[in-house]
Amino acid sequence: MYRYDEYDRALVQDRVAQFRRQVARRLSGELTEEQFRPLRLMNGLYLQLHAYMLRVAIPYGTLDARQLRKLAFIARRYDKGYGHFTTRQNIQYNWPKLEETPDILAELAEVEMHAIQTSGNCIRNVTSDQYAGAAAGEIEDPRIWCEIIRQWSTLHPEFSFLPRKFKIAVTGAEHDRAAVKVHDIGLVMRRDDAGQAGFEVIVGGGLGRTPFIGKTIRAFLPKEDLLSYLEAILRIYNQLGRRDNKFKARIKVTLHETGAEEFTRLVEEEWAQIKDSSLKLPKHEVDRIARYFEPPAFRALSKDAPATEARMARDRDFAAWVRHNVADHKIAGYAIANVSLKPIGKPPGDASAEQMDVVADLADDFSFGEIRVTHSQNLVLPHVERDRLPELYDRLASADLGAANVGLLSDIIACPGLDYCSLANARSIPIAERITERFADRERLELIGDLQIKISGCINACGHHHVGHIGILGVDRKGEEHYQIQIGGSASENAALGKILGRGFSAAEVVDVVEKIVETYLAHRNEGETFIETYGRIGQEPFKERVYGAA
């Protein structure tokens, strides 16, 4: 894993000291709220419905056990004993005190963590595939490139005052687990005809009130040109991006209004001027960063896992957990274990301090001390010996972390919604909880298979509802919570935006509607067809008919 060098350490510590002085000046009244707000936001501190909220960066979703224990400690000491993992692979604390926030940031700095790039109109914390470095079939570990982007983008003077926030996601695998097509820039590692690794560059994706799937503006970019090309894109966006209207300021609108062809031409023109500048990545520097991500000391193992097989044969709960939560690892005898933060009837993505400590211990005991955070609000132990899965499962299950539902209907993404968020129009979490309760039966869940439900409590779409197979958007209608349903979205490599089904529903009706949609799928599907495949074949009409009755 990447470790801070002296430059990073000094930067983060200076920032803590600076913020401590700023907080003191605010509390004494020397700074007004108007003066202070941008300063606190630059340090990840928001003011929400019940309290402040601190968003802590987890760059590209990678944590070590020591860091996760620190997050648990902060939850216990400074917050209310839990944290919320987000679709940005970050963690949010819902109850920090302003006066204690500098202490929290100082604690974080001790384990090389911070809240920089978690807010404001800058290049945000880079996100990635949670299976990076472990997935079979990966071209390269994308975190090497994420870290290079992080070093380039952190406090980048030219891009500290962009028209709007800017999110970059990178994947090294064919199957997209990082939703790269709905980011401002999505980078997918590819090989050219000569077998050289590079990037497909996708620009202008995004959710929010104006969702777009990103467009490929370059099919193949050599690796050493990554930063110069990103810089060219950011420069064009910084010049053309609208500053007159916050809702039209993201690069997706710039790209749309400029036209992809013209935008690409401008980027290429800019790039031609800077591609051979100091931004060209020297091989020795890439190699230096790559060394931080060298694989752990895997043992030579048989690919057979007799203990796991035997337990699967006699324990249906365990077998289901292996089927859904365990993924193939690139090394024989190893597996990737997902830790679901979606127990039935509980807020998606929340983990108690005790659970964080348990996962940290399990990471040490099973996964070379490594943990990943997923954009679908779960955790991952990326390098587990396949034949030790029974032991791991038992320890997870005893901490209420054994839910066997990753990728299934109850693995719901939900934003904090109106239970916490001052921007929300409606609650998200109770809808998620009730859906998981309705679909608690495991056999039924498995029968339904791959079905992703994503819930947002307002049009800003933090819950990714546009790319849910079933997307639910909470709105306020005449002072009541009301929910619009859309279907057919996808966040995968076949990314698509869902289409609104029709008129919305009250909170009381939503779960029944979801059930009707699921029933329609089950009634129409062909053998082996997933929800999204059936939808692609039969379209919206049958679902509409079932939900609204024949027209």
Binding site: G29, E33, L49, A51, L98, P347, D419
Partner: protein, 113 residues
């Protein structure tokens, strides 16, 4: 229809030091006020003119005393168990997350510290 003039209103804000939700309780002279954690201790403005005066007091206090952030008016109704915000957003704000009854104001006595 405009019910603004016949609705009870109180001033709600976030306490600067810790972000906790507080309510303005004005002194009888209307020139000074204190911030209370309990909605039932809030001063209730029975009409729009008095609500605006209460808000002005809250805004001045926010500006000059630096104890609170973002004061604004919310509508409340009187119930047998005390004041209750009319709008569900503010009800949630005054109680705590509906998914965690162990957190927020709903979890503590009105006189919480």
């Amino acid at each position: 229809m405009d019910f603004a003039d016949i609705t009870d209103q109180v001033v709600i804000a976030s306490r600067l030091s810790d972000g906790r939700v507080v309510f303005l309780a004005a002194e009888p002279d209307g020139a000074r006020g204190a911030w209370r954690l309990s909605l039932d201790e809030a001063s209730v403005a029975p009409d729009d003119a008095r609500a605006q005066a209460l808000l002005a007091l809250g805004e001045a206090a926010a500006r000059e005393q630096h104890r609170v952030v973002e004061p604004y008016l919310i509508e409340v109704e009187r119930t047998a168990s005390g004041l209750r915000p009319v709008v569900y957003r503010e009800r949630i704000r005054c109680l705590g997350p509906t998914v965690r009854s162990d957190l927020g104001k709903q979890a503590t006595e009105a006189g919480e510290v």
